[in-house]
Symmetry: C2
Subunit: 94 residues, 2 copies
DNA sequence: GCGGAATGTCAACGTTCAGCGGCATGCAAT
DNA sequence: ATTGCATGCCGCTGAACGTTGACATTCCGC
């Protein structure tokens, strides 16, 4: 359980909160523990994990950094969700 | 110029602002145009593109959505640049 | 150079945030 | 059942946000 978390696609603040929570748990950190390392308060982290849209992006970035979560922005070209494993492996996608 | 923007890795709010600006220009949108579509004010967008760390994440997400920029969070485990195909093909969640 | 558009920036205002302290709930282990 | 920890939530305060409207500056085409 909570062993490994793959690439997560985020669209809303709820997604973001869920992703942070997952990553935190996969590192076996408590909210208080993560908050301390990221320099935020536990109350704030709790609200963020629950999808607060008004949270400041700078604090979010610090938190993701502590969680070793890299943020990649990619133009929505021909891709649909996550990465295109088929194309990656050379599967003929018709 | 401003033809295509590849995947951008973001660590700070400055990176984020730069990425947004790049994507906006690649779509040949003005700040006013993008702001209108994203439901934000031009003043806010200007400050965000200049790296304001206190911006609300919800508005950022709306903006990225309009720009067709997908957000991927990926655990920075043994990875270096791209993703680890070996691990990808060998995942065993058990 | 000129003119217009795009962008940066400022002040005032109302709104909302983050921090703090505390308390209630839920869950697991004893 | 009781203890302990993790988490959610409340009120309060001070600080910072976002909006509006305006003005200054920069950029780009002509």
């Amino acid at each position: 359980m909570f062993k490994y978390v793959g690439i997560m696609r985020v669209r809303t603040s709820r997604d973001l909160g869920a992703a942070i929570r997952q990553a935190r748990r996969s590192l076996r950190l408590t909210q208080a523990g993560l908050a301390a390392r990221a320099g935020v308060t536990r109350t704030w982290l709790s609200s963020v994990e629950n999808g607060k849209p008004g949270a400041e992006v700078g604090m979010i970035l610090r938190t993701l950094d502590v969680l070793d979560l890299a943020i990649d922005l990619q133009p929505a070209g021909p891709r649909h969700g996550g990465f295109d494993l088929d194309a990656l492996l050379g599967v003929d996608d018709g």
